[in-house]
Symmetry: C3
Subunit: 153 residues, 3 copies
């Protein structure tokens, strides 16, 4: 299994458009995201996000938060733990919470998940995106499951 870990942030004229702009900023704006519940196969490899085919169906774990309250600080976090037998992903987000605390929360949750499954963590990756809302803003973090048929070229 191969995955890419991405994040993005953007303002927009509506909440939907701010969210859509944040997805584009993360490089995943032109595909259909299908949300899945966050498990990885054993020895999952992490790659750079390739160019994806427009309109293709892409499995992902998505962390997102959108706010139209100017001055809010919004943060989306993804924590990924890789193991030999399997891996786990945790997504969390917050409004007006410290990015560093949200990252620690996510890391603790994913560590607990690996512990519970008695799988040693070989690698842990955290990705986060934070923004202070000007008018309407959105931040996203995502794990993209890379399958051959969604990759352009």
């Amino acid at each position: 299994m191969k995955i890419a870990i991405v994040s993005g942030k953007a303002e927009g004229p509506t909440k939907l458009n701010a969210f859509d702009n944040a997805l584009s900023d993360a490089g995943i704006g032109d595909v259909n995201l299908i949300k899945v519940s966050s498990m990885l196969a054993g020895n999952t490899e992490i790659e750079e996000l390739p160019k994806l085919k427009a309109g293709s169906m892409v499995n992902c774990v998505l962390s997102e938060i959108t706010s139209d309250n100017p001055g809010d600080t919004i943060t989306a976090v993804i924590a990924v733990a890789i193991g030999e037998k399997l891996g786990c992903v945790v997504e969390t987000n917050g409004i007006n919470k410290k990015e560093s605390e949200l990252i620690i929360e996510a890391q603790n949750m994913v560590k607990y998940m690996m512990d519970k499954r008695s799988v040693e963590i070989k690698d842990m990756i955290t990705e986060s995106s934070t923004a202070t809302v000007e008018n309407i803003a959105s931040v996203v973090g995502s794990v993209i499951y890379l399958e051959d048929e969604i990759i352009e070229g």
Copy 2:
């Protein structure tokens, strides 16, 4: 890529059953809907909804709203923009909002999405469903992604 654009509305004895009846009214009651995030491939073709195989897994964009407050006017809207390189879908809905205003909102959001991607709109289609709630009612609008394996016959 081929899609069908459908809508439906219905009353029912519970919210779940009203929603299920509205899906049946739209012709998509006997399949499993998997919600995706609203992008289309280039030059997507729009077709009449064919007969779908019962129980098949069908990717869709879904706009739906259900209310058990008699007298409410509920409206679900889908706006689809087709372009050469890609297309976009917006879904929105509202309670006691004018159908015409919701349609314009959806069209503006989808135009903005296409603009942001620098893709010219070759065709724009809007579908909406509205109802005044008697007891418990649901309205739905949907873009159904048509793949060979979900079509009966």
Copy 3:
């Protein structure tokens, strides 16, 4: 079409971890769950849950409820009706509601769905999970769609 019907319950240090532990208790903690909208093909067969491949993409209907309010009784219910032409699934859940009443509600909703489609019920199966919250707890019930590529072996 083949399905398995499972349920689980667990406590955990966070809501996310309680939910994850409940999925593991149900035997579906190591896969990616993709939620679908609850229709079955004709003459669907019910099987024991096989060992699933870690990280595989698994279509399911999921009933879940998680609470961090000690003393709450939480219940998740799945009702499955099998017919010759198609089948239906209903999921419901509740806090501090009688399990027996939630089961009857779910059964009534799924009977109504089959009636509306003029399909005779050949078999009806109900699965439920209930727990009283100590600190943070989650209960789940699920219909897992079994496809060859998700089964280990």
